[in-house]
Symmetry: C2
Subunit: 181 residues, 2 copies
């Protein structure tokens, strides 16, 4: 259900092929808050086509699979608009990193250190991308809001990790409970 709406959302900003939808989600503003793979996109597009929510034009290409460019129909636009007004489900985060940090005291300190550094550089990379995007301007107020939101949150994350990592790695270096010696 979600993959279909996400496809409609991307198509609302312009015609695209399945491949281009993927790219748009990955490195466009949707990327921060949604994920999608080809194996969700292609079935979703087939279904949307069946339901008359998108139309398709095939461009024959030499020695490549035909490029199928999809376009939102009026019905599709209405469906999207309707879906956007349905009540939202609570946000959720899935973090392998934090999951592991919960067990920091039973993991090798070097492993914990490595994970923290990896996560920090991931966050910094992400922030850099958003700063760049901020300079090229936004297509909508929502995009600007989202970019600012993500930057703020990511910075808060990085700061917290930097300020509190000693709690974790310190805990791994020392025995959990004082042992009489």
């Amino acid at each position: 259900m979600d993959a279909k709406i996400l496809c409609l959302a991307v198509l609302s900003q312009g015609d695209a092929s399945g491949y281009e939808i993927r790219k748009a989600v990955e490195d466009g503003p949707f990327g921060h808050i949604q994920d999608i793979g080809y194996s969700s996109i292609y079935p979703a597009l087939s279904r949307l086509l069946e339901d008359g929510l998108v139309s398709v034009t095939e461009y024959a290409q030499e020695r490549r699979p035909d490029k199928k460019v999809y376009r939102l129909t009026p019905d599709g636009r209405m469906t999207l608009l309707g879906a956007l007004q349905e009540p939202t489900m609570p946000d959720r985060t899935r973090s392998d990193f934090l999951f592991r940090m919960l067990f920091a005291d039973i993991l090798p300190p070097a492993t914990v250190e490595g994970m923290i550094d990896a996560r920090l550089s991931e966050i910094r990379h992400c922030i850099a991308r958003m700063e760049q995007r901020a300079q090229s301007g936004f297509d909508s107020p929502g995009e600007e809001f989202l970019n600012g939101f993500a930057m703020t949150v990511q910075r808060a994350m990085a700061d917290y990790i930097e300020d509190n990592r000693y709690q974790l790695v310190g805990s791994a270096l020392l025995p959990k409970r004082a042992v009489a010696e």
Copy 2:
């Protein structure tokens, strides 16, 4: 694969039934970063049992389904420890709320307002729960780290939304482009 590791993780903190695993994830520290439903838990437990990573004791209960309490085996504990040291996948957020905010300029202002208020109260509720937990102390340094992390991040979110909501609702109240009149 993930549901199994999550079950092992919960069981590493004490024996539990499927039902109790669900509860532990939902309102324990895992809740911030993982989700799991019964339809993932029960198959996962069956599989873990097959693989010898957990053992089970059935407690017959009058007029209720037997309660099956699962316990980590030494093999299970090693598997968990191994899984925790595997490289982490990038964190990801799925936000219905932010997705809708991307389209704030084409949604009715009242709808946008409502969504923002709903999200803010959700966040505040979440922060309150974490503050409470902070007072009752933590079982591990990881838990304390995670709780602090989540509080910091949620506060940053709430602050950003409060400070910037006018960008969205303002944009919905006024026409996107100045129209000559």
